[in-house]
Assembly symmetry: C2
Homo-oligomer: 198 residues x 2
């Protein structure tokens, strides 16, 4: 199985990088192909230009290649910090540009864009790992945890991926090494559970 | 009063631009100073670098200037399309970089970043205008309207701006010219109501 891992954190020594590496190792140990897209390292251009908005718009070849990889992935894993209840801009831009019509979803015939799109992704499951410095209870009661809505409802269910798992590790800034080791164990367990050896 | 208008849409002929222009005119007619930041036109660099994350991190002078303008604004108006229940990446990056600690909020003494921040913005109100192609009822029931949580709870209340108004204009793609004219009238009315002549 091809597993696509998309990572957004500016510091190569971040715990997010450790999570992405743990997910990739676990996937490979299970016999899968894991491709890690480190958006900051690649210098991904995150600003959707006007010309790419229409379904038949002109799309850069490197974006088209990413669209094909996304659609073909048997599993998708997203790793990013919780910044303002949202992903970092560079990852938001990956969604804006790569989750395209006719790649990730399509409008049904006779629909000008106002209707209910049909999901086109073929992944069996999507996993989202977040890091945060907001205590879990405060995230839920004060902020309403918009990341859950964003990834589960607005993105993956719309694109046809209904099997969804998300885990927010918090509070990272005050966590012990022991705690972070356990968290990486949880990442490996989740990957093995959703993408077992074939 | 100084009113800061932040706009994110790649097409200069977009309805978002018409909204931002209507908001700026209404503010000026009421005797305020309106500054419009058109993020796409300015080519804003939206990727928060690792070095800017710490409170005492090294911040580019143009970002520092934007932080000062944000903190000093008597009113803030945000204009953007609903893309995946979130702002476009370029605007997300404006929040990541310009809503900085010690500019938009601060951690209380002895707090390593895990606690409850104190808002520092001085704006009397924040207005958010969105455009969308998702019918209102579907946005609420299927997607949970994360933009409301994001702007109201995660950003403006955290930064100390409790007076908040948001209006999502939808469905834009099938709207008539008459309808869009009425919507621009609503924009002007909201600006006049929240930021009346002094």
């Amino acid at each position: 199985m091809k597993i696509l891992i998309i990572l957004a954190h500016p510091s190569p020594k971040s715990f997010n990088h450790a999570i992405a590496d743990a997910a990739a190792s676990a996937a490979r140990e299970n016999g899968h192909t894991a491709t890690l897209i480190d958006l900051y390292r690649q210098g991904f251009d995150s600003h959707l230009p006007a010309g790419e908005i229409p379904t038949d718009g002109e799309v850069a070849p490197e974006i088209e290649a990413m669209c094909r990889d996304l659609r073909a992935a048997g599993g998708i894993i997203i790793v990013h910090p919780n910044w303002w209840g949202q992903p970092p801009a560079i990852l938001k831009g990956f969604v804006d540009r790569v989750f395209r019509p006719e790649a990730a979803y399509r409008f049904l015939e006779g629909d000008n864009g106002e209707g209910v799109p049909e999901g086109l992704l073929t992944a069996g499951a999507a996993l989202v790992f977040n890091t945060s410095n907001t205590p879990k209870e405060r995230e839920r009661t004060v902020f309403g945890d918009p990341l859950e809505l964003i990834w589960k409802k607005c993105i993956f269910e719309l694109c046809g991926v209904d099997t969804f798992y998300r885990r927010m590790f918090t509070v990272v800034v005050t966590s012990s090494e022991e705690e972070r080791r356990e968290w990486l164990g949880e990442v490996r367990d989740a990957v093995c559970s959703y993408f077992p050896a074939e």
